[in-house]
């Protein structure tokens, strides 16, 4: 069992969390939307498996490269 850290590629504010821990995901599935410079930037899963943890909540400010979710593959 491997764990995959999903990182946001941009800084901004978490606008919408779309998926929950325990749900299955595939590569490319959108986990959340980050509002960055007034743009809705999707944060996509980098692995296939189950969401173990969502590390942020809506309206959290995130930094570029911050880990926002953990996937168990």
């Amino acid at each position: 069992m491997s764990t995959i850290e999903v990182r946001t590629s941009v800084a901004g504010m978490v606008w919408k969390i779309l998926r929950n821990p325990g749900e299955p995901v595939s590569v490319g599935d959108v986990l959340m939307i980050v509002d960055s410079m007034k743009m809705e930037i999707p944060v996509e899963s980098e692995g296939t498996g189950t969401i173990r943890q969502i590390l942020v909540k809506e309206e959290d400010v995130v930094a570029e490269g911050q880990t926002v979710a953990i996937i168990e593959g």
Partner: protein, 520 residues
């Protein structure tokens, strides 16, 4: 009586030179998954085209006055062709003393070496295959004194940047002079998980700062390419590196007195891609794939992206339209809405100078909300670097066309216009522009009115909606403040007409543009 004996000696010396540092040293080099410099040159240039110069240089070993062996100078260089065009090529031989400098009367490679002179005088591109750390402190023992830095300086390396394309490929570990020369190039590349570049290596870092780092942690591609933008591109292998070098050079002229080659174009210039009609979402906050947009417009398979992992809010790429090289600068809405930060500003500035120097027309695909904002942006001098980029753009004299895809705001937006040209701006129906976006501007301009309103959020939304009514690009087009609004599907045929027509002007602009060349 003939000179047979001496000619036989030439052949013998050449054979020794082919052996590089010897079988054992070559084996160890291969074990590192690295090619020798002769293999690199062979893999890069047209087959059979390498004419070596200085093959007999090195240290001769004599017993009773009889030559027994020559240890070659650790640098191999000469004239070759790439895609039929002459180039000067050279690289350090790491199998001999790690490619460190050699004390002949004349330098072969390195700064101020023969190979730079060859490129300079013959006006042909220079390719540096860099694999070494330059000087060694051991040379002081050999000379009997320490050498002043810059005795063999970078003067020629710098002046070349105004005359011929210079490519540097970091093939191994580069520090010192070779690292410096890697930077003094128009385009550079390194090998993922194999090559590194730094000002000084781990032993010096540990001695100076107490930091213990590996070569990869200090100067591998994740640092040098992705984080710092010190080197432009990264290849997965040496073989891919050679392909990339050939590809880059295919967009360049031989020197600044010539124009880049035009290829036959099998891609119809009147191709109108239906996907362009809906690629930009109507919802202003939704991003889209700008790389795909560009690829739908330029000649198929013609995009060569530079610095893709650095300064990611802007995309810089060489491409072709109707076979003619163009320089693409396209904002990436996925990264900070395309806003210009320090990294993007540096990347864009260098790319503009590169294209301007070598007579490659610029096409901006604009979706920029302005400079990046916030405390981190201000602390990194975004304003200064951004204005430096605007300054560089205002100096470019190469034909420039601005295609406004969506946002074009502020000083970063100004930086996309060809002011030494006809200031030609064409827009898509999705385009919007101004000094600053309505969202930020309303809050500032109507602050008191919003604060005093019974429902401030609603009043702000009403004001934003009202001002957006003035933002239709058609109103600006009526005033001829933008030169045209086009059906997105027309972009390729429209651009190709003007790129074709611009070739006449390009011919009148050949020659050097900058005294000191493109800044690294």
């Amino acid at each position: 009586m003939s000179w047979r004996q001496e000619v036989d000696e030439i052949q013998l010396r050449r054979k020794w030179a082919e052996e590089l540092g010897g079988a054992e040293a070559v084996r160890r080099h291969h074990e590192q998954n690295r090619l020798t410099v002769r293999e690199r040159i062979g893999g890069l240039v047209d087959a059979g085209s390498f004419q070596e110069v200085g093959k007999l240089t090195g240290k001769g070993h004599y017993v009773d006055g009889k030559l027994t062996k020559v240890t070659s100078a650790p640098y191999v260089m000469g004239l070759a062709t790439i895609q039929g065009r002459p180039v000067a090529v050279g690289g350090e031989d790491f199998t001999i003393r790690g490619g460190t400098s050699w004390g002949g009367d004349r330098r072969k490679g390195g700064q101020g070496g023969f190979i730079e002179d060859l490129a300079d005088q013959y006006l042909i591109p220079l390719v540096n295959l860099i694999d070494g750390s330059g000087g060694s402190v051991a040379s002081a023992k050999h000379r009997g004194h320490t050498i002043f830095p810059g005795v063999h300086g970078f003067e020629r390396s710098v002046s070349l940047l105004a005359r011929v394309p210079v490519v540097s490929a970091v093939m191994g570990t580069a520090a010192g002079g070779p690292a410096g020369r890697a930077i003094l190039s128009h385009w550079s590349v390194m090998i993922k998980n194999s090559s590194q570049i730094f000002a000084a290596g781990p032993p010096v870092v540990e001695r100076s700062l107490g930091q213990k780092v590996t070569k990869e942690e200090l100067g591998g591609s994740q640092i040098a390419v992705d984080t710092a933008g010190t080197i432009d591109n990264v290849a997965d292998s040496e073989s891919e590196c050679f392909s990339m070098i050939r590809r880059f050079l295919s967009y360049m002229p031989q020197n600044v007195w010539e124009l880049p080659s035009v290829l036959n174009c099998n891609d119809p210039v009147d191709r109108r891609e239906e996907a362009l009609l809906s690629i930009v979402p109507r919802e202003r906050r939704s991003p889209y794939n700008m790389r795909k947009l560009v690829e739908l417009i330029v000649d198929q398979n013609s995009v060569f992206e530079i610095q893709s992992s650095f300064g990611r809010s802007v995309i810089t790429a060489l491409a072709r339209i109707n076979g003619k090289p163009v320089g693409i600068i396209a904002n990436n809405p996925v990264v900070y809405g395309g806003a210009m930060n320090v990294a993007a500003a540096r990347k864009q500035s260098h790319f503009i100078e590169l294209c301007d120097c070598f007579h490659i027309p610029l096409i901006f695909f604009v979706d920029v909300p302005g400079f990046m904002v916030g405390t981190a942006a201000e602390a990194s001098a975004t304003l200064r670097e951004g204005m430096r980029c605007v300054y560089v753009g205002l100096q470019a004299t190469v034909p420039t066309i601005t295609v406004v895809i969506r946002k074009c705001y502020g000083m970063a937006g100004m930086g996309t216009c060809g002011k030494n040209d006809v200031d030609f701006k064409i827009a898509w129906p999705s385009a919007e522009w101004g000094s600053l976006p309505v969202e930020g501007g309303v809050a500032a301009a109507f602050r008191k009115e919003i604060q005093n309103a019974p429902d401030p959020k609603q009043r702000q939304a009403e004001l934003e909606e009202e001002l957006r009514g003035f933002a239709s690009p058609f109103l600006t087009a009526e005033a001829f403040a933008v030169e045209d609004i086009i059906d997105p599907r027309e972009t390729r045929p429209y651009l190709s007409r003007f790129i074709d027509a611009a070739q006449v002007r390009l011919k009148t602009q050949v020659g050097p543009k900058f005294k000191a060349g493109v800044r690294p």
